[in-house]
């Protein structure tokens, strides 16, 4: 008995030897307590407690609500002076459980008032030299004086309502609070000067074409729009500063747009009076286009437009559009617009895909735009839900890429002689896919862009990547693949913010709100969850929140809820921190079975004053890095090296089984390190001496008790000659120098390029 106890103590001692040493060293200082920094800690502190509005599953809760806001709008364009006049009747339905004392209205155009605070939101400085156009525009000329001029706000009986304008927000003080469940009807009259969007930027305005003296208008944020009231923000009345886009309500729109009679308009919603606004010839082509499934029908041709450009009509026409369940309204109008259109079949109904472009967009636009719209609708529908709206329009505007329900503005302009590079072509195709894709996020899955830029931009850029890759193999996607985000994630930390940041306050909006979340979702799909589970969960999120207002938590919760994969570690690392991936191979040892214990075991026994004879039978292993390693161990059958092992096998296994065991001759210990803050699954590719390869994936949970390093025993039948970590570069590992054993010299981009040009 005593002997056995002693043996067990020694065995325990051997097993915990290295552990004990670490404790002994650390206990020299008194340790302080602290909060958990475990990478796998659940997100209870970051997430709000689920409630009746938003369920713990990530689905809308039983009391989920959103407000409904319906608009009847009449606008008229004064083309000569570029002024837009409008009146609107708003019907506000209070679906919230709360009584509302006042309403907040968004006046986005006020960001272009000459004294808008947004004009002074960035530092500026005097410089020694400046481009001439910029010097004139920025220093000599007075700022453009835009912004809404609100003529009146009246109740349903025509009585003026008390209003207070605070920058880009207008409060309407209701005479009596609006009860839960009630409607309130009121009207607003306004006008504003339209900016040149090429020189003054912004998401809407006009482009002036000096050659023929015409303008092409892309008009949005053109009417006072209700702010969102919900269970998360109360009134979302965060001012419009320029970067954080929009938070908007669903509702029905009836919009009548009066423009010069020779203009062509496309807009959010279905055209109600084509016969009144189109010529007979155009009407016939329009009807034909409604059932043209293979290619677009040209309704207004370039030749016709070139004639129209020469004469300006003094007459006017009013185009009427109706849109159901949209969160916004935009339109484009010009006599310069060429118009083509085709139909896209969706289970028993047709969706119209169409494009408007000035001749400056051709020949590129005629060839690609509408076809790309149709492709985007099909692929996005596959990953989310069938596109529910009746149409989708792509409008060419020189340097815009901006989305509205059913309509978007896109860049991609050939040279004057009509030539264009691949860069222009793919830039145009990508931006059309992206902006049409915004119909899904945020137009239908209606997230709050003012607060969370990534919820629409990131999700859209992710599906954009899938759509591009389905457009043609090896499509040159700018964003999506893991290696493309490495320069950003490995960059200077003072210019990086977590994805979970307000778009107004971050340095690099592109990689932050578009590239990184898109890549993160791509890594989830390809590497962490697998396509089947991810696609199901992503579709579940899209369908749960279709025509509703989700928050980031609703997304995070749903993806876990629909996949049975705990991803709190992933959201915490990729979305709430600026950590990056750097995992490496620290050491790789081969072990041999030995009859004699290694010097390490000897030392322990000696320390305890125990002789080898006192031990019960044990198997000893010696590594090729141990001092006591003897190269004779490499020779012969490993089982023969250990008498106790041989004895044990003989007593417990048949000869046939023992024969099989003899084959496993290769024991390795591989040690991984993790200089980077992010935890990720560890993927390795083993190369054997016969040239064959095998992949092993350790689950991310391997890091849960030690965030810095871990070891793994590998037992193989063949000699391993090479280990490569993340061989397909699927984890966005920022440092590849520690990814190979034996250490491989990783050529820098510089060396690769230099050797390429030498050859």
């Amino acid at each position: 008995m005593i002997n056995l106890m002693r043996y067990n103590r020694v065995l325990n001692f051997i097993c915990f030897f290295s552990f004990l040493v670490i404790i002994a060293q650390d206990s020299a200082e008194i340790e302080k307590g602290g909060k958990s920094s475990n990478k796998f800690k659940q997100l209870y502190e970051e997430f709000s407690t689920p409630n009746k509005y938003r369920a713990a599953s990530g689905a809308p809760g039983e009391d989920y609500y959103h407000q409904k806001v319906d608009y009847v709008i009449d606008v008229e364009l004064d083309e000569k002076n570029s002024i837009l006049y409008g009146t609107e009747k708003i019907t506000y339905t209070n679906n919230s459980p709360d009584d509302l004392e006042y309403l907040w209205i968004q006046l986005d155009q006020n960001i272009r008032k000459k004294d808008a605070p947004a004009l002074e939101k960035n530092p500026s400085k005097a410089t020694n030299l400046k481009q001439i156009e910029k010097f004139v525009d920025e220093v000599l000329l007075k700022p453009f004086d835009g912004g809404f001029n609100i003529e009146y706000v009246r109740d349903v009986n025509g009585k003026p309502l008390k209003k207070i304008i605070n920058n880009t927000m207008m409060l309407i003080d209701l005479p009596v609070p609006l009860k839960s469940g009630d409607k309130y009807i009121f009207s607003i009259k306004w006008k504003y000067s339209i900016n040149n969007h090429v020189t003054k930027r912004g998401r809407s305005g006009y482009e002036f074409f000096p050659e023929d003296g015409n303008k092409a208008y892309i008009i949005a944020q053109f009417f006072p729009r209700l702010a969102v009231y919900n269970d998360v923000e109360g009134w979302q009345n965060h001012q419009f500063w320029g970067n954080g886009e929009f938070a908007l309500n669903f509702g029905d729109y009836e919009v009548n747009i009066t423009v010069p009679a020779d203009h062509i308009i496309e807009a959010t919603g279905e055209l109600q009076n084509p016969k009144e606004v189109l010529s007979k010839v155009e009407m016939n082509r329009y009807k034909k286009a409604l059932t043209s499934f293979d290619k677009p029908v040209i309704i207004v041709s370039q030749q016709e437009v070139e004639e129209k450009e020469k004469v300006i009509s003094e007459k006017k026409k009013t185009w009427s559009f109706i849109a159901k369940n949209v969160r916004d309204f935009g339109f484009a109008t010009s006599r310069k617009f060429i118009w083509d259109m085709m139909a896209v079949p969706f289970k028993g109904r047709n969706v119209i895909a169409s494009s408007l472009y000035p001749k400056e967009g051709n020949p590129l636009w005629e060839e690609f735009s509408t076809q790309v719209v149709a492709h985007a609708l099909k692929v996005y529908s596959k990953y989310t839900f069938d596109y529910p709206y009746p149409k989708a329009v792509s409008v060419h505007a020189k340097n815009q890429g901006m989305e509205y329900p059913m309509i978007c503005w896109n860049y991609g302009r050939p040279e004057k002689d009509g030539s264009y590079s691949d860069r222009v072509k793919y830039g145009m195709i990508s931006v059309i896919i992206h902006e049409v894709g915004h119909n899904f996020f945020p137009m239908i899955v209606n997230s709050d862009e003012r607060q969370w830029g990534w919820m629409d931009e990131g999700l859209d850029t992710f599906v954009q990547y899938l759509t591009e890759q389905e457009f043609m193999p090896n499509y040159p996607s700018r964003r999506g693949s893991p290696s493309k985000i490495v320069p950003y994630m490995s960059g200077n930390q003072s210019f990086i913010s977590p994805i979970m940041s307000n778009p107004e306050n971050i340095h690099q909006l592109g990689p932050n709100a578009y590239g990184k979340p898109a890549t993160a979702l791509n890594i989830l799909r390809e590497t962490i969850m697998g396509k089947e589970l991810f696609d199901f969960a992503f579709k579940t999120y899209s369908q749960r929140w279709m025509f509703k207002h989700p928050t980031p938590e609703d997304f995070f919760r749903t993806i876990e809820d629909a996949s049975a994969i705990d991803l709190d570690w992933f959201w915490r690392g990729w979305f709430y921190s600026t950590d990056f991936v750097d995992i490496g191979i620290k050491n790789f040892k081969r072990y041999y079975i030995s009859s004699e214990p290694s010097d390490k075991v000897d030392n322990i026994l000696e320390g305890y004053g125990i002789s080898k004879n006192e031990l019960s039978p044990l198997v000893f292993m010696v590594s090729d890095q141990d001092k006591s390693f003897d190269s004779d161990l490499k020779e012969g059958n490993p089982v023969d090296k250990s008498f106790p092992l041989k004895q044990f096998l003989k007593e417990n296994y048949s000869d046939e089984d023992i024969e099989k065991i003899k084959l496993s001759n290769f024991f390795y210990e591989i040690e991984f390190e993790k200089p980077g803050g992010l935890v990720m699954p560890v993927i390795i590719e083993l190369t054997y001496s016969d040239g064959s390869k095998e992949n092993i994936k350790y689950p991310v949970q391997i890091w849960r008790k030690n965030n810095n390093s871990f070891k793994k025993l590998l037992v193989s039948e063949k000699e391993i000659i090479n280990v490569a970590l993340d061989p397909n570069k699927e984890t966005a590992d920022v440092n590849l120098l520690n990814n190979n054993w034996p250490k491989k010299e990783i050529l820098s981009k510089f060396d690769i390029y230099k050797s390429k040009i030498k050859n």
Partner: protein, 161 residues
């Protein structure tokens, strides 16, 4: 590609896709002591170079000129605007070449270093004389030493001892 860049005084709106937010370039400078070489890799937005090129070449865009003409233009621009001094002596820049990567031009150039320097100075005015908001980031790596420097027209150089 007709993609224009942001941060105008009158309108600080970003549009929703593809337009890069800043006039910025990034240059990685790696001093390989055992190879007696300082390797430089610059990443510069193509459309910024394009607008400079247009201004200096009467409207021709980069898309229509031939590759060697572009290379010559780039080589000159780097030669004039990226200067490396070792112990106050300007070093001879060896231009290696350039390649496109999506909407970015990646440029490679090198300096040969004979003795171990006491002080390195880098002056980087890439695109600054054309775009006054231009910011150039330099990532310097000497062995285990790594540091990033943000350079602007008002402060376009730094020293490392």
């Amino acid at each position: 590609m007709q993609r224009y860049v942001l941060i105008l005084l009158c309108s600080t709106l970003t549009i929703s896709f593809g337009v890069h937010q800043y006039y910025i370039s990034a240059t990685k400078v790696v001093y390989l002591i055992n190879k007696n070489s300082i390797q430089c890799t610059s990443r510069i937005f193509l459309d910024d170079l394009q607008s400079l090129f247009k201004q200096s070449h009467s409207g021709n865009s980069l898309e229509v000129i031939n590759e060697s003409e572009f290379d010559f233009f780039l080589k000159n621009h780097l030669f004039e605007n990226f200067n490396l001094y070792i112990d106050q002596v300007k070093q001879n820049q060896l231009y290696v070449g350039s390649e496109f990567e999506d909407d970015i031009v990646v440029c490679y150039f090198e300096y040969r270093v004979q003795k171990s320097p006491k002080k390195i100075e880098i002056r980087n005015t890439i695109l600054m004389n054309h775009i006054d908001e231009q910011k150039n980031i330099v990532h310097l790596e000497i062995g285990d030493f790594k540091k990033s420097y943000l350079l602007t027209l008002n402060k376009s150089n730094f020293f490392k001892k």
